[in-house]
């Protein structure tokens, strides 16, 4: 059913598959730039992932203007400012981000800083309030298959001095190009593959069911769920399986495009709070919370969840399940997948396993209620509801 009104934007060009990295130079030339700053982190530098990108760029005739790899796990305004200075000193004209969510979010921060010509990113905080600014060509090369940050209009950057987590939502944060090359994720350990893969599944399921859902975001979300159901376990069992790796990279990108337009809901609101208060890794929080939050939303979303059974379990199971049972079966299917991943690589299934303490529930609930994602959840969620979900997910 068409919503009364919806908006959809996905302007990012996707390069997907074998030797995708080798086309970055061509894309940069097309964007009329020649001195990109290369952003990454120390781990990717150490394991050689960054070198693969450098090799691809240099061998095709372009030299990076500068390289910055001192990006921590949480993007911060200090790092963004440092990179901004380096960008100007080295007279760079574009950005290439090689990494997971924090590297890509940092790159979005740098892009904002330069294109909007502001002294303090705090001035730009908000939702859809930014104007285009100067165009800084921006290429994202994701090295995990989960955040989908290469396709989203969101960036979260910490301001440690002011103790605030700044959230930016703007279509102008979308990269120009996203490069999905199976070489970039082949060294990802099984547990991280599982955890980030579940994050992508969570993006897709929430995108398919949240209040900004629309026919275009649904198409991306459904395709992502099908790819995850068919490939996540293969990618975990055999990291060098480039077909499964590429399928997961595509799934993550599609889920990113879906939730960038339809937003995420209660799973992410509580997950962000668990990350902030109890330092639970994002993918783990998503894995643990997803089935319980689906149960919470079931009264409102049972039929919508029912549609997802087709993509999770295939046409035969879908056809043989009575329509009124499909929503329930979808939640069971998610839970079964979790159990298989738990057996395969120890993916946590309870909050107790990730060392969350019950005394922190109050702070988690209060933080979750102030997360913007709560506004996109179709069912109302109040303090007691969050506490109930946390208790259910505890052990």
């Amino acid at each position: 059913m068409l919503p009364l009104y919806y908006e959809f934007q996905n302007s990012t060009k996707i390069l997907s598959g074998k030797n995708a990295l080798e086309n970055i130079t061509y894309e940069l030339k097309g964007l009329a730039v020649s001195r990109p700053i290369l952003l990454s982190d120390k781990v990717l530098e150490k394991i050689g992932s960054l070198q693969k990108v450098i090799d691809a760029i240099v061998s095709t005739g372009m030299q990076p203007g500068a390289i910055f790899t001192d990006i921590p796990a949480d993007s911060s305004v200090t790092v963004v400012n440092n990179i901004g200075e380096k960008y100007k000193e080295a007279e760079c004209d574009s950005i290439i981000a090689v990494g997971g969510g924090s590297v890509i979010d940092t790159a979005k921060g740098v892009e904002m800083l330069i294109s909007q010509e502001v002294d303090d990113l705090l001035e730009l905080q908000g939702c859809e309030s930014m104007t285009r600014g100067k165009h800084i060509p921006f290429i994202a090369v994701p090295t995990t298959s989960g955040t989908g940050s290469e396709m989203t209009l969101v960036a979260v950057i910490k301001n440690i001095e002011k103790s605030v987590k700044m959230e930016f939502i703007s279509n102008y944060l979308l990269p120009d190009v996203a490069v999905l090359d199976p070489r970039m994720t082949e060294t990802l350990p099984p547990k991280t593959t599982a955890s980030t893969g579940f994050d992508a599944l969570c993006h897709a399921i929430e995108a398919f069911s949240c209040s900004q859902k629309n026919p275009l975001s649904d198409a991306y979300a459904a395709a992502a769920i099908k790819l995850i159901a068919e490939n996540l376990e293969n990618a975990i069992k055999d990291g060098k399986n480039s077909k499964a790796r590429l399928a997961m990279a595509n799934a993550s990108t599609m889920a990113g495009a879906a939730f960038s337009n339809s937003m995420v809901g209660v799973v992410h609101a509580i997950g962000h709070a668990l990350g902030g208060v109890c330092k639970v890794p994002h993918g783990d929080a998503m894995t643990i919370l997803l089935p319980y939050c689906m149960l919470y939303n079931y009264k409102h979303l049972g039929d919508i969840y029912g549609e997802l059974l087709l993509y999770l379990e295939g046409p035969e199971v879908y056809a043989s399940t009575p329509a009124e049972k499909r929503g329930e079966e979808t939640i069971k299917s998610v839970r079964r997948m979790e159990r298989r991943l738990h057996k395969l690589c120890g993916l946590p299934m309870t909050l107790k396993e990730v060392k969350v303490e019950k005394k922190d529930f109050d702070a988690v609930a209060k933080t979750a209620l102030n997360d913007g994602a709560m506004l996109a959840n179709p069912a109302a969620v109040e303090y007691d509801d969050v506490i109930m979900i946390l208790n259910q997910a505890y052990e």
């Binding site: 919503p3 009364l4 009104y5 919806y6 908006e7 905080q125 908000g126 939702c127 859809e128 309030s129 605030v164 700044m166 959230e167 939502i169 949240c210 209040s211 900004q212 937003m263 209620l369 102030n370 997360d371 913007g372 709560m374 506004l375 996109a376 179709p378 069912a379 109302a380 109040e382």
Partner: protein
């Protein structure tokens, strides 16, 4: 080029209607700060001096408020507020102020933009939703609110206090 007389007439009507609703929204929040514990707790958490502008569009009517130690006060124009919630068009604002859609639906439909800390905006949205629950009839709130909150006082009393300003 000029706007057609029909559009201009409707436009003026909508602006006038939005001004009236903004009056009741502000007065309603002020009353509920005193009489509804949930609204009181939300507003009490806002930092003193925090400036908030709710705009019906860039050039439309505005509700400008400042948090003070005794609650909220309506002020004149605020150039650079800490929090700005601005509808993209008068028509988008009219959908919300006339009770056709709620704030959550307006967000889903990209009807407004936000400047400032989104966590603080969530608190403001909760206050607006609670105030709407008193100002609008139940038949309307059942449609626009995801969960209709229990009232801690009667709607008629809220209107009386709001009109009399006490």
């Amino acid at each position: 080029m000029r706007v057609s007389p029909k559009k201009r007439g409707r436009f003026k009507g909508k602006i006038l209607f939005e001004k009236v609703i903004m009056f009741f929204l502000y007065r309603g929040m002020k009353v509920l700060y005193k009489y509804d514990t949930r609204v009181h707790n939300e507003i009490a958490d806002w930092p003193i001096g925090r400036t908030i502008v709710l705009a019906a569009s860039q050039n439309g009517p505005e509700l400008c408020m400042r948090k003070v130690s005794w609650g909220i006060v309506r002020t004149g124009n605020i150039e650079d507020p800490d929090i700005l919630i601005s509808f993209k068009s008068i028509e988008g604002a009219f959908l919300v102020f006339s009770g056709q859609i709620g704030t959550a639906q307006a967000y889903a439909q990209h009807r407004f933009l936000v400047k400032g800390d989104i966590a603080e905006v969530m608190s403001i949205v909760r206050c607006i939703d609670l105030t709407e629950a008193y100002l609008f009839p139940k038949i309307m709130t059942k449609r626009i609110l995801r969960r209709v909150p229990e009232k801690q006082m009667g709607s008629i009393r809220v209107y009386c206090h709001a009109i009399l300003g006490v």
